[in-house]
């Protein structure tokens, strides 16, 4: 690949874009620490507990990875749609429908073993894609705002899942489905299911697709300027529809993997709950970079699994973790908006100039 020559200003801008999320995470942790201190507990002890609880030993790391895994999928789902300029807030619905479809393959068709596993994953992905296609069709043909339709479809998916686990495949009348048969579950590597690996590979693949293929090129062009894309002969509507489908398929695959890989291996109340919006937040913090999204999802996983440990060690509610997570989102989004402000840009540009001049003087 050709080496990129960038001007000093652009380099400083790039650096700012990387620094902003890191600084916002640190700020959020500091504010979280203050809150813990105000509650009369020791924040350092708390954070230590959080780290031990999430990354303390291989088993805990595996648990954290499994917790982060669905968020990688919903994060990538949001990233892909946003890259094409559409705001898919329906990651959760697509995730759930993927899970429901997989459950149908298992219990409806009665498939088991590797065949069931493979078909479950594929059908989950396809149905997720279809669930993403619906708002796409509504947007393209009738101009309906996808932010509204995707959220609405989330509810449809949610109540459909309730029907599935309460009526269709209920485990002896309880509000949960039967468990996925042992033979059709995802295999494990080092205590974590292989879905984690799939998620990471998918992140790299999506990055490659977006930044290194001509298909991704067109997706990006449409996302940044649909009018110019049209004038320059891109099939804009088709690309937007494809973006909806792929975005939905990613989330659907995530739902299938969640069901087939992670305890309790069943659909029940709370399956996929909040994952869609977490995915949106992850995409924003990762600045729409698929590989960065993997790391942000991991951070969210650490916060979730570590939060429980923090609660039991220093006795603060897990809500603290929710607060920290919310703060990260606020700081990151505000920070990214702030670095785009002319005054702040001018400040950093001036600093950069001063540095260059200093270097010249030294030389």
């Amino acid at each position: 690949m050709a080496k990129k020559e960038l001007s000093a200003e652009e380099r400083s801008e790039k650096r700012l874009m990387i620094l902003t999320p890191i600084v916002s995470v640190l700020l959020a942790l500091i504010v979280g620490a203050i809150i813990i201190a105000v509650l009369g507990k020791d924040p350092i002890q708390g954070y230590a507990a959080m780290l031990r609880g999430s990354l303390g030993d291989p088993a805990k790391i595996a648990k954290t990875l499994e917790r982060a895994c669905p968020l990688v999928f919903t994060g990538l789902c949001a990233v892909f749609a946003y890259k094409c300029g559409v705001f898919n807030l329906g990651g959760e619905g697509q995730f759930i429908m993927g899970g429901c479809a997989t459950a149908t393959v298992m219990f409806g068709l009665g498939l088991q073993g590797p065949v069931g596993l493979a078909l479950g994953l594929i059908v989950g992905m396809v149905v997720g894609g279809i669930w993403g296609l619906l708002p796409g069709i509504m947007k393209i043909t009738r101009g309906l705002n996808e932010m509204i339709t995707t959220i609405m479809l989330n509810y449809v998916a949610l109540y459909f899942m309730e029907y599935v686990f309460k009526n269709l495949y209920s485990d002896s009348g309880l509000p949960k489905t039967l468990a996925i048969p042992q033979s059709a579950r995802l295999p494990q590597i080092a205590n974590a299911h292989v879905g984690v690996l799939v998620a990471i590979l998918l992140g790299v693949f999506i990055w490659y697709l977006i930044f290194r293929t001509s298909f991704g090129f067109k997706i990006r062009a449409v996302g940044m300027n649909p009018v110019a894309s049209k004038v320059n002969g891109f099939p804009v509507k088709r690309l937007v529809l494809l973006a909806f489908i792929i975005s939905g398929a990613i989330a659907g695959l995530g739902g299938a993997i969640e069901l087939l890989g992670r305890t309790p291996f069943r659909l029940a109340d709370g399956f996929g709950s909040g994952f869609g919006f977490d995915g949106v937040a992850i995409a924003l913090i990762a600045q729409l970079n698929p590989i960065a999204a993997i790391f942000v999802a991991l951070l969210f996983g650490v916060l979730s699994t570590g939060g429980t440990m923090m609660q039991s060690v220093i006795g603060v509610p897990t809500a603290i973790v929710e607060i920290v997570r919310g703060l990260i989102i606020i700081f990151a989004v505000a920070g990214m908006a702030a670095v785009k402000l002319p005054k702040i840009r001018a400040f950093f540009a001036a600093r950069q100039n001063a540095k260059v001049k200093k270097a010249e003087v030294n030389a």
Binding site: M1, A2, K4, E5, L6, S7, E10, R212, T213, S214, F215, F217, K218, R220, A221, M224, N225, V227, A228, S229, K230, V231, N232, G233, F234, P235, P342, R345, A346, A349, A350, N353
Partner: protein
């Protein structure tokens, strides 16, 4: 004449960039003072400082010899400074009267007192010869009358100093005459006018004095009586300026593209086409003259495949009637397009220069492997650097975003991309709008070179001088209709400008 305004040593920085540097000039009572300069010379910044939109980094402003701090547009109005913007700030759905009194707080009551205001305004209309239909909605007014509403807004608020920012750009020749009469009656009543323009002929005619700005600095203030047009042009660009002329083609080749009786939304006065027939020949530039908003946009949309005409026939380069209207099929048939709005339609601003240069070719075997699947990043980079050299695109790197380039360089990127495809038909819409003289020359040379290479060129421009300079044949559009076709060599200028006004 007494001095009304004095701006002394005004500097305005944005970061490390000086938009204005040590600018000094003054306006006397009852004079028309022109600010002359190329795009980016700092005229707008200076005026934004004067009307309180920007705070100067350094420098002082005096009104009637007293120093004033213009901290907001409101303060500017209190000091009797009013600006008529190039793009009108009117509310289309409201009447002339409503627009004029909008936001004015002269009455103590919270109620509108339209009757009183109407009397005041009618008095002003008589005094300055401003003809406005106060009860007509702005949407239904001619551009000239909309401008008079803008001027009245400023007068109604008691302005002594009016800033007219490129007021003639949108007017027909006839309306320009009307505007100049109004300007005369304003100055004879003691009002002063700052006139911003780069049209030499007008500047020479209407101004008393001219201040030339160049690269943010005030170069010189001269009495119009003592200079020639050529001297002003030289001052403006800072060197001897020799405008190039191009030989005209009179015996063009066969027809490359033809419209027959094309209509598109003919019921819309300022956005439709009515029964338009024209033919573009190989190796000629067909210029479309006309005042902005008389069908240029829909014409461009039809010939680039963005919209399908409601009736009529369109014939492509192969002589066959075109049935499918999509930019994609037009590009395949050999269309090169320099669109109306380079940022909105021509470039993807957040993508790099290199990416914009290959925008149309990402699936070609040259730039992608596996039949248009994987991009060859190295090839793209080298190709971009090659085009950058050839077209003198000034940027620090081709990996810079297209948005960060200047207008002229952005246009060069588009031109490089479009011409590399060796188009059979080149459609150039306002190709030099907002560009400085150097970039304009470059673009003109390239367009003429395409013609000489046998390409059919359709040039749509609201800049009459540009159309005259480049066109081998001239078509005039008025309210969506073709008013006539004229030869490009020794064009009957008078006839054409009458046609542009619909006569």
């Amino acid at each position: 004449m007494a001095e009304l305004l004095r701006m002394e040593n005004i500097s305005k920085c944005f970061g490390s960039f000086y938009a204005n540097k040590d600018v000094t000039f003054d306006v006397r009572e009852g004079e028309v003072h022109t600010l002359l300069g190329e795009n980016g010379a700092g005229k707008s910044t200076l005026m934004n400082v004067l009307v309180g939109l920007y705070q100067p980094t350094e420098g002082k402003i005096f009104m009637h010899g007293r120093e004033v701090q213009i901290t907001s547009p409101g303060v500017a109005v209190e000091n009797g400074i009013g600006m008529v913007h190039q793009h009108f700030m009117l509310i289309d759905a409201m009447t002339g009267l409503e627009n004029i009194i909008l936001g004015d707080k002269r009455h103590d009551t919270p109620l509108l007192r339209e009757g009183d205001d109407r009397k005041t305004i009618e008095g002003l209309m008589d005094r300055y010869g401003l003809e406005i239909d106060l009860d007509e909605k702005v949407a239904n007014m001619s551009i000239g009358m909309q401008q008079r509403v803008e001027i009245m807004k400023v007068l109604f608020r008691g302005a002594e100093l009016l800033i007219l920012d490129e007021p003639t750009a949108v007017l027909t020749d006839l309306e320009v005459e009307g505007l100049f009469e109004i300007m005369h009656s304003l100055t004879s009543e003691g009002k002063s006018i700052i006139f911003i323009s780069h049209k030499m002929r007008e500047v020479m005619r209407i101004s008393d004095r001219v201040t030339v700005l160049r690269r943010g600095e005030s170069i010189e203030t001269v009495d119009v009586a003592n200079v020639t047009e050529q001297e002003l042009a030289d001052l403006m660009i800072g060197q001897k300026f020799q405008e190039s002329t191009y030989p005209k083609v009179e015996d063009a080749g066969e027809v490359a593209f033809e419209l027959k009786g094309v209509s598109y939304r003919p019921e819309v006065k300022h956005g439709g086409l009515k029964d338009v027939s024209l033919a573009i020949h190989k190796g000629e530039i067909l210029g479309v003259a006309g005042i902005d908003g008389n069908g240029q946009t829909p014409l461009a949309e039809v010939v680039t495949g963005l919209v399908k005409p409601e009736s009529g026939e369109v014939y492509g380069p192969d002589g066959k009637e075109i049935a499918l209207f999509s930019p994609r099929s037009f590009i395949k048939a050999g269309l090169g397009n320099i669109p109306e709005d380079r940022n909105k339609m021509g470039l993807v601003g957040d993508m790099t220069v290199a990416e914009n240069l290959v925008l149309k070719q990402t699936t070609s075997d040259k730039f992608s492997a596996g039949h248009g699947k994987w991009l060859k990043m190295g090839e793209i980079h080298d190709y971009a650097n090659k085009l950058r050299e050839e077209n003198d695109i000034r940027c620090t790197s081709v990996e810079q975003t297209a948005r960060s380039l200047s207008g002229g360089n952005q246009q060069k990127v588009i031109l490089a991309r479009e011409l590399e495809g060796e188009p059979k038909l080149l459609v150039a819409v306002y190709p030099t709008r907002g560009l400085d003289i150097g970039a304009t020359e470059f673009i003109h040379n390239q367009i003429v070179a395409q013609r000489d290479a046998g390409c059919a060129v359709l040039l749509i421009s609201a800049d009459f001088d540009e159309v005259l300079k480049l066109s081998d044949r001239i078509v005039v559009l008025f309210e969506g209709q073709v008013m006539g076709t004229y030869p490009g060599a020794n064009p009957p200028i008078k006839e054409i400008s009458l046609a542009m006004a619909g006569k």
